[in-house]
Symmetry: C2
Subunit: 530 residues, 2 copies
């Protein structure tokens, strides 16, 4: 199987000109893994971006079928890596095999889903208004609009999904689907996994005869490596999944450029869960079990981890708390993705523990080893929560905070005071819902996804998914980073006025040879024109 080189992948070449190097560390054993990785130098990054620009001029206009085949070939090449990929990824992340096999399938299916979107072709939102030459006082011109790709984009991988939100994850596949080229900044916690997937993409480029430079992989734990990409004048947009501090710094830098560019940064969320009275009455044990399953999933390292649970004080509260205690006690301790992430989690837990208004409601029985962490449930009342804004900040890891409201009004007040989040969940009976339409209305304005009687972990990759939400969950509330609508982040509209047929893109020619849906004089149709 492929042997790791530790090189940056600049188009189809490997490159290791830098003097800064780093190693991946196994979070379970704390032992460094083999292969020295080379941080990219400025000339290497520049070369990758210049290549991406040159390749863009070709890639943006290739036939949709060729673009779809490319995405599918990446999927095949990732599967080809087989156990090599899973083993390396386990070593770098301490995530269990079954989870990574599932994540790989999600990544592969995502590439295939985007291939189907490209092949269908209707995503370009073609709009045609035909001419009326004899209109008075002025003739009406022929105007035809479609989405075109933005250019080379810079994408930053996330630590917590080393496959699905990394090198060939949602951002990369939607950018490729849109017709953009990609300069990918690998996450330093899984550089080997990144190299393996990067080489799968290189192989797909070779097999489908696409130009060198469509894809580059850049290593570098230093902030300046990422910022060099963000500030490069040939980069047209940024995709990012990670921390608020990281995303906000990129957003600010992108806005300060001579030519500001859009930044699609997904920066996390506490994903509030509201448990309504009927649900607590009917199934408080089941909810407790599912909640614990959700906030401890993957050692609590999901963007959609439910970190805040709002309940109404009632005669069922005690049973619910007791069920939470029992369920949490049974959760084993887990290894987090890195020492730094573990330390941040411990810091967050310590802060909550030391807070006067917060109680430790439950914690797992398994003792905490040096590199392992326990799951925990904290509790407080709504009044204290509302007076301490920092309690609404994300503690990345397997903990959640239960907030008990005295009344419906207090519960509504908690909702009203929330900032932007990725998701909000309502646990309730249908009768509950009818009495809480105001709560739904409030939450709609705070999040990208509303869940009823489920839990937010598990983000379905489909046409209708919204993985996004108002700031500070993202820097771009009008977009989603998961699901097929994510493709629109990397395109913009252009229109052609009175262009001859020969000079128009295929999507806008009368004959509609690609058989796409088009809005022709205001009516959606697949018919040819004339």
């Amino acid at each position: 199987m492929t042997k790791l080189t530790g090189y940056n992948l600049i188009g189809l070449e490997g490159s290791a000109r830098g003097e800064q190097t780093f190693l991946a560390i196994n979070p379970s054993t704390l032992i460094p893994l083999d292969t020295t990785f080379y941080e990219a130098t400025f000339p290497e990054i520049d070369r990758a971006i210049v290549k991406a620009e040159e390749a863009f001029l070709v890639y943006k206009s290739i036939h949709p079928e060729a673009r779809a085949r490319f995405l599918e070939t990446i999927a095949e090449e990732i599967l080809e890596l087989d156990d090599t990929l899973i083993r390396r990824c386990m070593d770098e992340t301490a995530l269990p095999e079954a989870r990574l096999i599932g994540e790989r399938m999600r990544t592969v299916n995502q590439l295939r889903l985007f291939a189907s979107v490209v092949r269908d072709g209707s995503w370009v939102d073609a709009r045609i208004d035909t001419a009326t030459p004899d209109r008075r006082p002025f003739p009406k011109p022929d105007i035809r609009q479609m989405q075109i790709p933005l250019g080379p984009v810079g994408i930053f991988g996330a630590s917590n999904f080393p496959l699905a939100f990394s090198v060939a994850g949602g951002d990369t596949s939607s950018a490729f689907a849109a017709g953009c080229t990609v300069v990918f900044k690998a996450h330093p916690l899984h550089p080997g996994t990144s190299e393996l997937v990067g080489k799968a993409i290189q192989e797909a480029i070779r097999k489908t005869d696409l130009p060198d430079g469509i894809f580059s992989l850049i290593h570098g734990p230093s902030e300046k490596v990422g910022m060099t990409i963000v500030e490069h004048h040939k980069i047209a947009a940024i995709g990012f999944t990670g921390s608020f501090n990281g995303g906000k710094a990129i957003f600010d830098a992108a806005n300060k450029r001579d030519i500001p560019i859009p930044v699609f940064a997904e920066m996390g969320s506490i994903n509030p869960v509201f448990i309504l009275p009927g649900a607590l009455k009917e199934r408080n044990k089941a909810i407790a079990k599912e909640l614990v399953g959700s906030f401890t999933l993957g050692v609590g390292q999901f963007c959609t981890n439910p970190g805040l649970v709002v309940t109404l004080k009632s005669s069922e509260s005690d049973q619910f708390y007791q069920a939470l205690k029992n369920e949490t006690a049974e959760v084993g301790s887990g290894t987090m993705l890195s020492e730094r992430i573990r330390m941040n989690y411990r810091k967050g837990v310590k802060k909550l523990k030391e807070s006067k208004g917060i109680k430790v409601l439950a914690s797992s029985n398994t003792p905490e080893k040096e590199n392992n962490v326990k799951s925990r449930v904290f509790s407080t009342d709504a009044d204290f929560f509302l007076r301490n804004k920092d309690l609404a900040e994300e503690v990345f890891g397997p903990s959640t905070l239960i907030v008990a409201a005295q009344s419906k009004e207090e519960m509504i007040n908690v909702a009203k005071n929330l900032e932007g989040h990725l998701t909000a969940t309502i646990q309730g009976t249908e009768q509950d819902l009818a009495g809480y339409t105001d709560l739904i209305q409030i939450l709609e304005r705070k999040v990208g996804r509303l869940i009823f009687n489920g839990f937010p972990t598990g983000v379905e990759v489909c046409h209708s998914m919204v993985h996004g939400g108002p700031f500070p969950a993202t820097t771009a509330s009008q977009s989603t980073s998961v699901g097929t609508a994510a493709i629109r982040r990397f395109s913009r509209p252009v229109c052609y006025q009175d262009f001859p047929q020969a000079a128009l893109p295929d999507q806008l020619k009368n004959e509609n040879s690609l058989n796409i849906w088009r809005l022709v004089n205001g009516a959606l149709t697949k018919e040819r024109i004339g």
Copy 2:
């Protein structure tokens, strides 16, 4: 007819608490017009925005039919103002009657077009993926996505289109169509026109029984009035048409907020025109005539004014230049919108005149009176143009700069060095086009609209229009401010997971009672589900 009050319109009330006042000035006579206008105070602005937020909670969810009727009623009320509106607008802007009657018709048609979009309803981009409860390893949930309105938006009127890009212009009508409420900052050059149209909107609100606060009109020449709107925490987005400095200042302020918000600022453009050899050979006189008609239209005060014309030196150049001289000579002098705009135009002209590498090629024969300006054509060669970047900056007014390239390569080089603009135009034969596909490819990345054998002035309001383009033409290249796609600026996607039918918006219920197009499990259909 309605008498002007000079008051701010805070929802359905008039309010004049401020101590700062101002007058409109007739640009032709330089005499102040009647009615003292009151700059809004902070409490007045805050009250307007709080009302807009309260009204939003109702307006966002009203039936599409009611929203469409509201837009149509605004159109009717504007027509009701009849001559009162046209007279006041002529007095405030010095624009001729026929132009304003045409602009009013465009404004009214725009409102009606958005009403048709709201009534059709498919703009919400509904996407439904139905559940597969027995999928392994995890059940597939039911997920349903649609666009929902952002909230109260702040909109800034432009000086140069006192009707079509002002109080009830494209930004306001697309925001209302999306379901947003509007706090409108009137342009201080036409406050009376603004009040009249504002009252027409108030009347439409009364007649259609919509809540107070859907619309407010704020006066104030001071920058702080506008910035108070931009920085208010309840404002969810900004629409702006105006200068680069104004738009960029708003963009920066919006990004520095605790919660940054999107800014859709259209900041102007020099709208380059490329005249290819075949066209120059076949019809240089006709092109000269149309070009002069375009850059002098409305005294050159259009965002789409063609301020740069690139030609290839050829045996036809002299004839073309002579034709430009003849045509320009016959253009009468014109009154610009304000003294400041006129002074800026004169400053721009003076700078070009004093530049060593620039010649005055043509100017109108009519002498320039104090408050009038002449049209002018300047010329230079591509080499000088490329070495002086500031020549590519917009001179707002009736002038254009002809750049003569020695070769195709030099012409391409000029194109490559352009920044973002709203439009680019190619004058050519079909044979020219075939030889200049590289030019089209370059221009596609620089602009929102490409025009063949026409001129950029005259922006058709239709489904396919793109009035936008890369920075610095706008701060939001992924959007358009004219045409029905403009509605998407004021919405964002939200999805509902496993929601009971009763709790879903009508657009996402199984029955599809609104009969809209929906993407159901990846296929576009109007069918009901189940």
